[in-house]
């Protein structure tokens, strides 16, 4: 949300006053490419006994449930780099599917009501057997953003 040209915004649910979603800080997994930036979807991985964040690709509906996180301060931000390291920036993220509405830059072809999943950290319309992480409740194709509730 610090990038001036970004449309990313958490519109409702952010703690403490919005209060729905849980916030956490995680070091990014080494060698993530591209890096996790604001508005991307991450997951927590065990890397040698330490929790690290990497990009999420949603699983099938019948698979073990995903625990997706929405990155709100990504590796593109100085505070993320300053509180972590260059190789492992510290990402701030909100737990998804706990009550959260956010707006994010996107050019995916969706309509209001469509479900979305995460494909390598990027929102994608559900058209195959994938666990949805939210529902589109608004969009602006001219301004190239979508609003998702999850």
């Amino acid at each position: 949300m610090s990038n001036l040209n970004s449309q990313f915004q958490v519109m409702a649910g952010r703690p403490p006053h919005g209060s729905s979603a849980m916030e956490g800080n995680f070091l990014q997994k080494t060698s993530e490419s591209p890096v996790l930036t604001e508005g991307m979807i991450g997951k927590i991985e065990n890397v040698a006994g330490v929790a690290r964040m990497s990009k999420l690709t949603s699983g099938a509906v019948a698979a073990v449930p995903d625990y997706p996180w929405l990155v709100i301060e990504g590796a593109d931000m100085l505070d993320s780099q300053a509180t972590g390291t260059i190789a492992n920036p510290r990402l701030t993220a909100l737990a998804m599917k706990t009550g959260l509405i956010f707006k994010v830059d996107s050019e995916i072809s969706v309509v209001v009501g469509d479900l979305v999943w995460s494909n390598a950290g990027v929102l994608t319309k559900v058209t195959t057997d994938k666990q949805a992480l939210g529902q589109v409740i608004g969009l602006n194709t001219a301004a190239k953003y979508v609003i998702v509730a999850c």
Binding site: G99, L100, V112, V126, A132
Partner: protein
């Protein structure tokens, strides 16, 4: 919560209050929806609507077996605030909310809850679809149940 005689109330979880958890948002009532949607009704987003609008919800699976996304109307068209801004205020179910709602049913504490044409019910309307909550109290004398979601 706008009627003095209403049995509807949000008991826990409303955003903006201490201990809040549920997500709230405002939607337009879908065009041509009759009768007007009142508090305590369960709604969902109308596909392809612009502006984004809602209609009464019946529990069902969505695309590729993913579960539905129901919302509880906490300020309906019967309230003057809603009429003034032409919006319904809704709380997203399954995000941590406890509410009391009038019912003509006789549920048992522990029954699961679904939505049928916007009405909370302890009967799965289509069979095998995800529930949206559970009955945690029932007052037969006063005709209401308390639901957690």
């Amino acid at each position: 919560m706008s009627y003095l005689t209403s049995k509807f109330d949000v008991l826990r979880g409303l955003e903006g209050n201490e201990g809040s958890s549920a997500l709230t948002w405002e939607f337009v009532q879908g065009s041509g929806v009759t009768p007007d949607i009142s508090e305590g009704t369960i709604v969902s987003v109308v596909t392809s609507s612009n502006p984004t609008s809602v209609d009464r919800h019946t529990s069902a699976l969505l695309t590729q077996n993913n579960s539905d996304h129901p919302w509880l109307v906490i300020r309906g068209k019967e309230s003057s605030e809603s009429q003034f801004v032409n919006k319904l205020t809704c709380a997203k179910l399954r995000t941590g909310i406890v509410f009391k709602v009038a019912t003509a049913l006789t549920p048992t504490v522990g029954d699961l809850v679904w939505a049928n044409a916007g009405v909370p019910t302890n009967v799965d309307p289509t069979g095998g679809v995800p529930h949206l909550g559970k009955v945690i109290a029932f007052d037969e004398d006063n005709g209401f149940m308390v639901v957690e979601s």
